[in-house]
């Protein structure tokens, strides 16, 4: 059967390579071996498709599955896990209690890191010293959480990366970038040795390595654009 009109791929991602939220979705899809197309948005100019697909927030990432839009990165990751549940590995842990713990920390991470990173990048006004303290405390707590959840294995998810690995790991690019931009130490091997080792392993993981660029590329991006959407006034909270 031949068709003169090409069908859109079943799975498409609207995104920007530098967004940690988009990176989460790409990692999840790669982890599950799901074929997908990435539509890179133009910085500062939202596409018609994006505005139509996420009219409420007008934000990336958006996953389009057979044309149906799903928004919000962690919601998308859970969706991917549930739809492709027969593809290993499982992203969310099987045990409801461990799930609850991972969801708790994922929420905590998104409460602290995006805003903190924006302040350290200089996109938004704020007390940098205070932020460094807050993020260091957060990393300390996450170091302890890592020890409990990993149970001696390589990732928060155990033998393979999972929900919490993706939630935190997606921020590593910008964390390392702001360390250079602001001249601060966050992923300090002296203070959070297990997280530092985990971060290296995470970044080298086959599902991650091609979608989480080096810190220098994020620094370049920051110099070039200042923020993701420079035409939109920067808000202190997401």
């Amino acid at each position: 059967m031949s068709s003169t009109k090409e069908e859109a791929p079943a799975v498409r991602v609207l995104g920007l390579w530098a967004s940690p939220f988009v990176i989460r979705v790409l990692i999840a899809l790669r982890l599950k071996g799901v074929e997908h197309e990435v539509l890179e948005e133009v910085v500062g100019k939202k596409s018609e498709l994006l505005l139509r697909s996420n009219p409420v927030h007008k934000k990336i990432p958006v996953l389009l599955h057979h044309g149906k839009p799903i928004s919000e990165s962690l919601i998308i990751v859970q969706y991917i896990d549930e739809v492709w549940s027969s593809n290993a590995p499982a992203i969310l842990p099987a045990d409801p209690y461990v799930r609850a713990v991972e969801r708790f920390w994922a929420q905590y991470i998104d409460d602290k890191f995006p805003r903190g990173i924006r302040i350290l990048k200089g996109t938004v006004d704020g007390n940098k010293d205070e932020i460094v303290e807050q993020l260091s405390t957060a990393l300390q707590l996450l170091e302890e959480a890592f020890l409990k959840l990993s149970n001696g294995k390589h990732y928060f998810g155990g033998d393979n990366i999972g929900y919490l690995d993706i939630a935190l790991g997606s921020h590593v690019g910008w964390v390392r970038a702001v360390e250079k931009i602001a001249g601060v130490q966050l992923l300090d091997a002296a203070k959070v040795p297990h997280l530092v080792a985990w971060a290296d392993r995470f970044c080298a993981h086959p599902a991650v390595v091609d979608v989480l660029p080096s810190a220098d590329r994020f620094v370049e991006y920051s110099v070039k654009y200042g923020s993701f959407f420079p035409t939109r006034p920067s808000l202190p909270t997401e």
Binding site: E82, P96, V101
Partner: protein, 235 residues
């Protein structure tokens, strides 16, 4: 009965977040021990169970604590999957939609209400009012989309979004007396207004919602306290 579940909820009677947990437990027909916390004098158990935030609600199941209201509600649904109603839908796309709107309530709706009532400047409060109008309009659309003509966000039966929004019902009711505003104005958001009545009247819900006059009393006390502090500060 062997292996009886040990469920304890640490809460504060006026908290909408605690109410969410109570609603989920009630809708699933689960028995639990409720512990009222004095937030000015938090118990050892609370501090130990939620060391990161020291906040309520905390659900303790067989000695293991779960924190954050949306996490707790999902936990209740998953840990007790065979019991009572299913709060999250079974279809992955509908689940994603339910999670999206639950997040919207906390990320957009609630902050806009807080800004409207507690914004420090007239400008801020006006901005809050504008944002609230957009937020409830979006939620009205969400209810239309999710319910598909049925009584609840969850369809025939209340579900996740009903619980997350339902936690706010006490304060929604109190809002009219306190601020002369009905956040779910039947003229502007008829579906939400009808939903609020319907959800609030459910057998599993009605007894659990805090009394409006008590909420009003607590809010007025807070307002008086803040006013006194402001007056004292300007002297």
């Amino acid at each position: 009965m062997a292996g009886a579940e040990d469920l304890k909820l640490l809460g504060m009677w006026a908290s909408p977040f605690v109410l969410r947990a109570k609603l989920a437990l009630s809708l699933k027909g689960l028995n639990y021990e409720y512990v009222e916390e004095d937030l000015k004098n938090k118990s050892e158990l609370l501090l130990k169970s939620n060391p990161v935030h020291n906040k309520v609600p905390v659900l303790i199941h067989n000695g293991k604590p779960v924190c954050e209201s949306t996490v707790i509600v999902q936990y209740i649904d998953e840990a007790f999957a065979g019991t009572g109603l299913s709060l999250l839908p079974s279809d992955p796309y509908e689940r994603a939609l339910a999670r999206f709107w639950a997040a919207y309530i906390d990320d957009k709706l609630l902050p806009s209400w807080t800004k409207t009532s507690r914004g420090s400047t007239e400008e801020e409060r006006a901005e809050g009012k504008e944002q609230s109008a957009v937020a409830v309009e979006n939620l009205e659309g969400a209810l239309r989309e999710c319910s598909k003509g049925k009584p609840f966000f969850g369809g025939d039966n209340p579900g996740y979004v009903d619980v997350i929004l339902g936690g706010l019902l006490g304060w929604v009711r109190a809002s009219e007396e306190l601020y002369g505003i009905n956040p779910f104005d039947p003229a502007k958001t008829p579906l939400l207004a009808a939903w609020a009545e319907r959800f609030g009247a459910l057998e599993a819900v009605d007894p659990v919602i805090p009394e409006v006059n008590k909420l009003v009393e607590v809010a007025k006390m807070m307002q008086a306290k803040l006013a006194a502090e402001a007056a004292g500060a300007s002297n």
